[in-house]
């Protein structure tokens, strides 16, 4: 029985290498499975490809799993890049270490954003796609199902996933939601059309924001952002008018001077009154003068540094949970390996049982032929009694076998059982 993983991830390799080894589309992945099945027809394979990692899990019921070199060669052939370009970045783990590696990945202990929830879905997807491509078997099924179970245990027994750790999620989840009861009736104004604006809009949309206005110096980018998120574009010259309507302002321009100054916003507040507004300044340098927050008590202004401080706190809090998570992973890895080793003794145990039961049947048949006067009830009693004797005799060796499985496949005992009881392979 053999299990291994070859992988490159954000720890071991730069993005330039990862993107060369990645399987970027479902079609690409399907093609990879076809080639892997041709190259290693008796192996079970699962490919996990995300933006932060490319991992290939291979398992074989016997010790004929593809070697590291063979898998590296596959990557090279499939992506048409020389092995030398990625060899240093492509690592490998075997057996128990490979199991622990997957459990760490699925539990998000190995993620760039510790405790993020996306990775377990990516692991589930990878497993599902492998099943759809008939690349899974008993070992990979057990391994991935166990990995998903471990992830769920880590999530429920530790605080690894608690607290938001991205600027946009903290802005909306920790602060925006504490200001407004609902977002459906709020007007969101996005100034600038950068990535941060897009990410913040995603969280705002999740909370129910409907009315979105995008203002950007480049109309083309504004239109694209507005189209993606069901918003409308307003010309840059109308910024003051839309600022008057906005309950939430997300500013992410690359301007070198503040776009919203105190004087400008004071004039706007004069006409809007002091209704609560949530101003998110995600620009660097800042787009909104810090003094805007002091105009009145209902202006809630946050810049990147304010939000990063919360992110840092949450990251530290998650970091404190890593030890607990690792403890769970160690326990579960040991349990999985024990089950795996015990599973390896399965065929011998099964043959031993059936051999003894065959003897029982044969001897009982002989006995019942000699004693035809026995009633059905007597026969049943005798059958049960002999069955119990066999089970009691089998119990000590099988129990010893199970205990020995804790520390690996008990090859010696299995061989001894085979020899002692003439068990044929």
């Amino acid at each position: 029985m053999n299990l291994q993983v070859v992988f490159c991830n954000y720890h071991t390799s730069p993005v330039a290498v990862r993107e060369k080894l990645a399987f970027s589309s479902p079609e690409h992945l399907q093609e990879a499975y076809q080639e892997l099945q041709q190259a290693f027809p008796h192996s079970e394979i699962v490919v996990l490809s995300t933006c932060n990692r490319v991992e290939l899990y291979a398992a074989h019921e016997e010790d004929r799993s593809p070697s590291y070199e063979e898998l590296a060669y596959f990557f090279s052939e499939f992506h048409d890049i020389p092995v030398s370009e990625f060899q240093d970045n492509l690592l490998s783990e075997q057996g128990e270490d490979a199991v622990r590696h997957l459990f760490r990945v699925a539990s998000s202990v190995d993620s760039m954003v510790l405790g993020e929830s996306q990775i377990v879905n990516q692991v589930k997807d990878a497993y599902r796609i492998a099943q759809e491509n008939n690349a899974c078997g008993i070992l990979t099924n057990t391994l991935f199902q166990h990995a998903i179970k471990v992830s769920s245990r880590v999530r429920s027994e530790t605080k690894l996933s608690e607290g938001r750790v991205s600027v946009a999620s903290v802005a909306v989840g920790d602060f925006g939601k504490s200001i407004f009861e609902r977002f459906e009736d709020k007007t969101v104004l996005v100034i600038g059309a950068g990535e941060m604006a897009e990410e913040t809009l995603r969280y705002l949309k999740e909370e129910g924001a409907r009315k979105i206005i995008v203002v950007n110096r480049s109309t083309e980018r504004a239109e694209m952002l507005a189209m993606n998120w069901g918003g409308e574009v307003s010309p840059w010259e109308h910024l003051d008018d839309v600022l008057k309507k906005a309950d939430i302002v997300v500013s992410t321009t690359g301007a070198t001077q503040p776009v919203i100054t105190e004087d400008r916003y004071r004039a706007i507040r004069k006409s809007t009154g002091e209704r609560p507004v949530f101003l998110l300044d995600l620009g660097a340098p800042r787009d909104i003068s810090a003094s805007v927050g002091d105009i009145d008590d209902n202006i809630f202004l946050y810049n990147i540094d304010d939000l990063e401080a919360t992110c840092d706190l949450n990251r530290k809090s998650r970091g404190r949970e890593v030890q607990k998570a690792n403890q769970i992973i160690t326990e579960e890895t040991a349990l999985f390996m024990q089950e795996l080793h015990h599973r390896a003794t399965g065929p011998v145990v099964q043959r031993l049982r059936s051999q003894w039961h065959e003897i029982r049947e044969e001897e009982l048949r002989r006995l019942f032929n000699k004693l035809p006067h026995l009633s059905e009830e007597d026969r049943e009693q005798i059958q049960n009694s002999v069955g119990r004797v066999i089970n009691k005799l089998l119990h000590p060796p099988l129990e010893t076998l199970r205990e020995e499985s804790h520390s690996g496949t008990p090859e010696g005992l299995v061989t001894a059982l085979k020899k002692l009881f003439h068990i044929q392979d």
Partner: protein
């Protein structure tokens, strides 16, 4: 059950209050379990105590004495607290509400609690007045409970507002509703409690007028009644301001809720304690007559 004393539930709520305060130090499911357990145990003891008092005086707790009346108010507050925390166990309402409950129960200690034999007998005779007195006390206690909720919501609003202005993260395991939600609930609690208190006052005035032909008519210049009147006028002013002002004045609403309802509750409690100890009110409870309200003594006479 007969041995249940004020100390039993006061101690339970005190433990809950301490556990609530410990939540500020970090999230702990054990802590939550203990504080809920003690709050529930306190509520059970509290209910049994009020039931026993009612049995002893043959009067509903609202009518027997100010001591019992305050305990009913505290009981309502605890029911409200347990009900809310069932839906959101992280809600930090206990930090604000339990100290007030403890203060109410503590104040009840200083008030006369011996049931007035005259009240119980006479009120039963005068069934019509008994009904009005019950309505008067019920409206006042419900209005006060609404005011207490407004006071707590006001404190929660200011805490949340301060956190958001200072850009602080909420403590782990604690949650406060959004400013929008607190403001809406605060508005409704004021809008409901002030009319209830007004109706309670109106019924009280009616009862007072009905005593004028008796042997000891109620004096409307009684210090207790005058203070109630002032508190009521302030609340009416607040109520009118609330209905006419823009909803963006949520912070002022929260601050005013705290000031006005604190004044109302403190003045009611302090005046009852003073009148109980010094007998300054001709209509307040005395060593021999202890009623939930100055008017109730008149009703009995």
């Amino acid at each position: 059950m007969a041995n249940v004393t004020v100390f039993c539930f006061l101690a339970s709520y005190l433990v809950s209050g301490v556990m609530e305060a410990l939540r500020l130090r970090g999230k702990s499911s054990f802590n939550k379990l203990v504080l809920r357990g003690f709050a529930l145990a306190g509520l059970i003891a509290h209910t049994i105590y009020l039931f026993n008092r009612s049995q002893q005086t043959s009067l509903p707790p609202l009518l027997s004495s100010t001591h019992d009346w305050l305990l009913v108010l505290a009981w309502l507050a605890i029911v409200f607290y347990i009900f809310l925390t069932l839906f959101d166990s992280d809600l930090a309402i206990g930090l604000f509400l339990i100290p007030i409950v403890l203060a109410l129960i503590g104040s009840a200690y200083f008030l006369q609690q011996a049931p007035n034999q005259l009240v119980s007998q006479e009120i039963l005779i005068k069934e019509a007045r008994h009904g009005w007195a019950m309505l008067h006390a019920s409206l006042l206690v419900l209005g006060m409970a609404g005011g207490l909720v407004a006071l707590v919501l006001g404190m929660m609003y200011l805490t949340q507002h301060r956190r958001l202005r200072q850009k602080q993260t909420m403590k782990e395991g604690l949650s406060l509703p959004s400013l929008g939600r607190i403001a809406r609930l605060n508005w409704w609690s004021v809008v409901i409690s002030v009319p209830l208190l007004t109706l309670g006052m109106a019924v009280g005035v009616g009862l007072g007028l009905s005593t004028q032909k008796g042997d000891s008519p109620l004096s409307f210049t009684d210090p207790v009644i005058v203070t109630y009147g002032i508190a009521w006028l302030i609340m009416i002013g607040f109520f009118v301001w609330l209905l006419t002002t823009s909803r963006s004045q949520d912070r002022q609403t929260a601050s005013l809720s705290i000031w006005i309802f604190s004044f109302l509750i403190i003045s009611v409690v302090v005046l009852q304690i003073i009148s109980s100890k010094l007998d300054i009110s001709s209509h307040g409870p005395t060593q021999t007559t202890t009623s939930a309200d100055p008017l109730l003594k008149e009703v009995s006479e």
